[in-house]
């Protein structure tokens, strides 16, 4: 059973960098079958997919266009973790941040978010 746990500071000041990590158990960050996603939830925007990283002979990353210029997602194979950094944050980045595993289902082989962490609330102060 895959378990994901997000950690990091709960309060970040505007213009600074938000940094979170996701501890993965029950699977490997280097799995050739999974992708590791960051998703956030705020009252104003609901759920918002931010991006993912995955390994298929080499590392790949995909990002949502709305945040692609400000975020990075990186694996740490030594700790079996995936991290998220969001630069130049504003109060609009206040949200609960989730780590979620993407896994292939059905004949389509598309990845869906089948395991989620509990999320971590990050507040950006102005």
């Amino acid at each position: 059973q895959v378990q994901l746990q997000q950690s990091g500071p709960g309060l970040v000041k505007s213009s600074q960098t938000l940094s979170l990590t996701c501890d993965i158990s029950g699977d490997s960050v280097s799995s050739n079958s999974a992708a590791w996603n960051w998703i956030r939830q705020s009252p104003s925007r609901g759920l918002e997919w931010l991006g993912r990283t995955y390994y298929r002979s080499r590392w790949y990353t995909d990002f949502a266009g709305s945040v692609s210029s400000r975020i990075s997602i990186n694996p740490d194979t030594s700790k079996n973790q995936v991290s998220l950094q969001v630069n130049s944050v504003t109060p609009e980045d206040t949200a609960v941040y989730y780590c979620a595993r993407g896994y292939s289902y059905g004949q389509s082989g598309r990845h869906y978010f089948d395991s989620w962490g509990l999320g971590i609330l990050v507040t950006v102060s102005s």
Binding site: L47, E48, W49, A64, G106, Y112, D114, L118
Partner: protein, 110 residues
């Protein structure tokens, strides 16, 4: 990429059916059969309920069903139960290796 549009809330009595719509565009919902649905009880991890528009992962009751017509996907909960009271989100592949979620719907069991 704009969020998919869902009704803010729907409600029904135990045993009834409710349907949640999820409206996008031809660039996401209408362009791909890659719609999924997630159930979220506040304070808990979201739960994966439907994939590929209408398929249920192992362990999801068959009371939950999905469908799609044009740019609108739907989730129907039949035989509504108290534990179904939660927030529900749709999600669609949006091309260029990106995903887009719906605005979310609160299901209330009366």
């Amino acid at each position: 990429q704009s969020a998919l549009t869902q009704p803010r809330s729907v409600s029904g009595s135990p045993g009834q059916s409710v349907t949640i719509s999820c409206t996008g565009t031809s660039s996401d919902v209408g362009g791909y059969d890659y719609v999924s649905w997630y159930q979220h009880h506040p304070g808990k991890a979201p739960k994966f309920m439907i994939y590929d528009v209408s398929q249920r992962p192992s362990g999801v009751p068959d009371r939950f069903s999905g469908s799609k017509s044009g740019n609108t996907a739907s989730l129907t909960i039949s035989g509504l139960q108290a534990e179904d009271e939660a927030d529900y989100y749709c999600c669609s592949y949006a091309g260029s290796y990106t995903e887009v979620f719906g605005t979310g719907t609160k299901v209330t069991v009366l």
